[in-house]
């Protein structure tokens, strides 16, 4: 079947098997391998991307469901070579070791601090419950998210549709479902 979507501000149209997961579409069809696959049961969160402004595990979505959506992956987070504040925070606070969970962790964190611009430690730890890391014990990730929140200005230039930040995951899923019916 034919799907089209905007990924990192570039429009793509591809013919895919109906069963193709979004994460496989991104990796295999578009060559965007920054989004990693760490499990097959939607626990680890390594594959988290932004779909229409919400952080979503891209293994839980079919490519077909994302037809017409606007998607940001880790490769699209920095603009003109300038790192997103959350990317800088992860390296400054040593929030990564092997780096495998990192893209998903950063994509989740970017949305987390949009919901909680001045997050408490508890809010950060709870907000990361869908992302597993085996290396760091999370301590420096929590600090990185806190630092990332501090570095991210109220109106970040990195995503141009602030209103979209406010939609819930449920809303993103509803939209995906609607798209899949049309």
């Amino acid at each position: 079947m034919n799907v089209s979507m905007t990924v990192n501000n570039t429009s793509y149209e591809r013919d895919v098997e109906p069963r193709t997961l979004l994460v496989d579409f991104l990796r295999d069809d578009l060559g965007l391998t920054g989004t990693n696959i760490g499990c097959d049961t939607s626990q680890c969160g390594a594959c988290t991307v932004h779909i229409d402004g919400a952080a979503v595990k891209s293994c839980t979505v079919l490519a077909a469901q994302a037809d017409g959506a606007s998607i940001t992956t880790i490769e699209g987070l920095s603009i003109n070579g300038e790192l997103h504040p959350m990317q800088r925070a992860f390296t400054e606070k040593h929030g990564l070791q092997c780096g495998f969970c990192t893209p998903g962790m950063i994509m989740t964190a970017v949305k987390l601090v949009e919901s909680y611009p001045e997050p408490t430690e508890e809010q950060i730890r709870h907000g990361l419950e869908g992302n597993l890391c085996r290396c760091t014990g999370y301590q420096n990730i929590v600090q990185a998210v806190d630092e990332g929140a501090r570095l991210t200005e109220a109106h970040s230039p990195f995503e141009s549709t602030p209103a979209e930040h406010q939609i819930t995951l449920r809303e993103a899923e509803r939209r995906a479902w609607e798209r899949s019916r049309t």
């Binding site: 049961t41 070791q97 990192t102 290396c135």
Partner: protein, 789 residues
């Protein structure tokens, strides 16, 4: 970041490796493709023990996209042998049964490979794998490490009667006399449950066979590509010099990517058969079955002590599961890496342990972060607490009365090891101070009066790592060396490439090794590129495990650094028209003593050496040095960890309240990175105490077979850890550094466990099997209260 006035050694330099990971440019094996590449899927046994009566591949062969379906017999016919075990422990009766990469007549665990399918896409290969029809005759199953040795237990290998892989003994001092003269003897059965490593990246292998050149390239998620190449030269028909093994970015290992796996040879065979590059990417569900597990270790332990709390002896009978086959290093873990460190941080006059390795119908075991040492330190530290409880003494006081006095030039313990250096009391005092131990005990007493179950756990550990002297490796049956290597290469512009035989995969040596070069040779960290993980680029070396990368790898780097300095002095003396003995070198400048301003920078020397227009007589062109370092001993990091936990008596839930860790790994190259290692290690060890455990049912099905049922800690589970350090250098390597990759894991399991048992002490509970789930803790509380009525 470093400045010209700040030493790179000891600075929290931001990691060089981060840039690619935070932007999604990591070079993980599954991100790689090759022209014409096809995909392999593995047909795995759904039964834990069965005879293979027949394999029908005809339907699978007809499936869309399939280019080949192969069985174990076909691999054997093509000259592919069994997967070797690289560690046969001497002074034992170790049995090494055959381990075909694909089972030929019998499967011995759920997940054992029975066939492989190669197809144009990963999805098509997996679809076709389901269409392979295998006819099995079911055999009886044993999964329990002790029951495996029962006379009527099902037998896994005819070579191993009673499923016994080995019986190994460590013995030092007069144990009988120690126990005969003791005032108190405490006993406990201690289970270090089976754990599943769960590196976030599962395993991947990509083979490209070049028929015209007779050359093989294998990209693989490995902690030690040179060992993989060495072993591939034994179990494939390809000679070692025609094999190139590349471990690109590897997404965590924790020991589970140490082994040489069957899938390594399967993709090689497949690539030879279909004439195209073949990739296999393990799914997480497969990873739970097919990647090695850790621990699975039961010990009946006794400790003898005087009424003053002086420990006289330790005695244990231990069973360790090897799983269904021997993995690369499995036999060494429950023996050498375990039994020899049973003295911990203490002067214990007599130690005896019998270890039985057994085969069970389970996934093979191998190293998992700490590998043998967590089991040993748990045993020692738990028994010390039981002695304290028996004598009604503070567990800190019992430790103080037994800790080895500070030493800096060797201390022999009853098991025969000679520890390098230590100041155990120093680390203890610092940790007690950070924790506010006395106040915490007072607060605990008050809480207990209120009926609250608050506990404090203390551990004063010493571990053995930095593997290790190659002579010892040979003496203990390890099938390789444990030295390591480095090449320091100065380019004409003064930039440096450092090639190393170790193979980090998240530990940060791309940065810390550059810091060593920067500190020693006066080039900036940015000007040093650290290259590892490719047997065609790097010198032979033994990889990254056993906290050896910095302890051994830095020794090789320092050897090369020394040669560079010596050559630099010769060239500088020539350029400055001075005598060599008048040249000094500091901060990257060679100069005549007292006239630094007229000196030559190391970049000047690099250009002069590489152009060779005017070198002194007898000096060869180029500025490059190669060094091999074989350490004279292991290194022995140590420290004190203290935790506070509170148990909810109504629910059995545990509140993880505080954790203080003081670790001593010698001089610290990069505090930020060392703290990261400790934090991650503590989290993994605490997870063993509280949440993680692999469970098999009686039929050998892995009940905890996915991330849905196996409790990997999340951010919410853990508090912030409070870290401190002391610095006691070792004399084993030039920089005095010890390893730190495993200390957190080794120390934290008994620390957390001791804290929970301390919380439950008022109820009389002293033992609950790990992991300490609310259900188990609640049940223990209920039973204690029933018993008390």
């Amino acid at each position: 970041m470093t400045t010209t006035t700040e030493r790179a050694f000891g600075a929290s330099v931001a990691r060089k490796e981060d840039a690619r990971f935070i932007t999604g440019q990591g070079r993980f094996t599954d991100n790689l493709t090759q022209p014409g590449m096809v995909h392999m899927a593995v047909v795995r046994s759904p039964l834990a023990h069965a005879r293979i009566k027949g394999i029908d591949t005809s339907a699978a062969t007809e499936m869309p996209g399939v280019v080949g379906v192969f069985t174990g017999q076909e691999m054997a016919d093509a000259g592919f042998g069994g997967i070797p075990c690289a560690w046969v422990v001497p002074d034992s009766d170790t049995v090494t049964p055959p381990h075909p990469p694909i089972a030929i007549d019998t499967v011995r665990y759920v997940g054992d490979a029975v066939a492989m399918v190669v197809a144009d896409t990963d999805a098509n290969a997996r679809d076709a794998a389901y269409a392979v029809d295998v006819d099995y005759d079911v055999l009886p199953v044993v999964v329990d490490v002790r029951k495996a040795m029962d006379p009527d237990a099902p037998q896994l290998h005819e070579e191993a009667p009673n499923n016994q892989c080995f019986h190994w003994v460590v013995d030092g001092g007069d144990v009988e006399a120690a126990f005969a003269s003791a005032d108190v003897v405490v006993k406990e059965t201690i289970t270090n449950q089976r754990l599943i490593p769960n590196a976030m990246e599962a395993r991947v292998a990509l083979a490209r066979w070049d028929d015209a050149m007779g050359e093989l390239t294998l990209w693989v998620t490995s902690q030690n590509p040179h060992i993989v190449r060495f072993l591939l030269s034994l179990d494939t028909p390809v000679p070692e010099h025609k094999i190139r093994v590349i471990a690109p970015d590897v997404g965590g290992g924790f020991g589970s990517k140490l082994a040489h796996y069957p899938e390594d040879t399967m993709v090689i065979f497949a690539s030879q058969q279909v004439g195209r590059p073949v990739k296999w990417a393990e799914t997480r569900s497969e990873n739970y079955l097919a990647t090695t597990h850790g621990r699975d270790h039961i010990a009946e332990v006794e400790m003898a002590a005087t009424k003053e709390g002086k420990i006289l002896g330790l005695r244990a009978k231990t069973w360790a599961s090897m799983g269904a086959y021997l993995s690369t290093a499995s036999t060494g873990i429950a023996t050498i890496l375990h039994g020899l460190i049973l003295s911990g941080s203490y002067d214990i006059g007599a130690i005896h342990e019998d270890v039985y390795g057994t085969f069970t119908n389970t996934t093979p075991t191998d190293a998992y972060r700490g590998a043998g040492r967590p089991e040993a330190i748990f045993m020692v530290e738990r028994m010390v607490d039981l002695v304290a409880r028996e004598l009604d003494m503070d567990p800190v006081e019992v430790r103080r009365r037994n800790l080895i006095e500070p030493f800096d030039d060797g201390h022999e313990v009853a098991t025969g090891l000679v520890y390098d250096s230590g100041n155990y009391v120093g680390a203890l005092d610092k940790a007690l101070d950070m924790f506010g131990y006395e106040d915490a005990r007072k607060a605990q007493a008050k809480a207990r009066e209120e009926g609250r179950l608050v506990g404090i756990g203390v551990v004063t550990y010493t571990e053995i790592c930095g593997l290790g002297p190659s002579e010892v490796a040979g003496a203990v049956g390890f099938g390789g060396g444990l030295w390591d290597s480095a090449i320091v290469r100065f380019h004409p512009t003064g930039k440096v490439t450092l090639l190393v035989g170790v193979s980090p995969h998240g530990q940060g040596e791309e940065t810390t090794f550059a810091q060593i070069i920067s500190d020693q040779l006066g080039v900036s960290v940015e000007d040093v590129d650290v290259v590892y993980g490719d047997t065609a680029k790097t010198p032979m070396g033994w990889g990254t495990y056993g906290s050896r990368t910095t302890a051994v790898g830095s020794g090789a780097i320092m050897g090369a650094v020394s040669q560079i300095k010596d050559k630099g002095v010769k060239i500088a003396a020539h350029m400055l028209e001075a005598a060599e003995e008048d040249i000094e070198f500091s901060d990257g400048v060679f100069s005549v003593k007292g006239s630094r301003a007229d000196g030559k920078t190391i970049q000047d020397i690099a250009l002069a050496a590489n152009t060779a227009w005017d070198l002194p007589e007898g000096v060869d062109p180029g500025l490059e040095a190669s060094s091999f370092f074989n350490p004279g001993n292991f290194v022995y990091p140590f420290g004190t960890h203290i935790a506070q936990m509170e148990v909810d008596p109504e629910t059995g839930e545990i509140d993880f309240q505080r954790y203080v860790a003081v670790d001593d790994c010698g001089p610290v190259i990069n505090p930020m990175i060392v703290e990261g290692q400790v934090q991650g290690g503590v989290a993994q060890g605490a997870a063993q105490a509280l949440w993680e455990g692999a469970v098999y049912d009686d039929d050998g099905n892995l009940v905890t077979g996915s991330m849905m049922s196996y409790a990997i800690p999340k951010a919410e589970f853990l508090p912030n850890f409070e870290l401190g350090k002391t610095e006691t250098p070792t004399n084993v390597n030039p920089l005095g550094v010890k390893g730190v990759g495993e200390t957190g894991t080794i120390a934290s399991t008994p620390t957390v466990y001791n804290a929970v048992m301390d919380a439950l002490a008022p109820l009389g509970v002293q033992q609950v099997d790990m992991p300490l789930t609310p259900e188990r803790v609640w049940t223990a509380i209920q039973e204690a209260q029933k018993g008390g009525q």
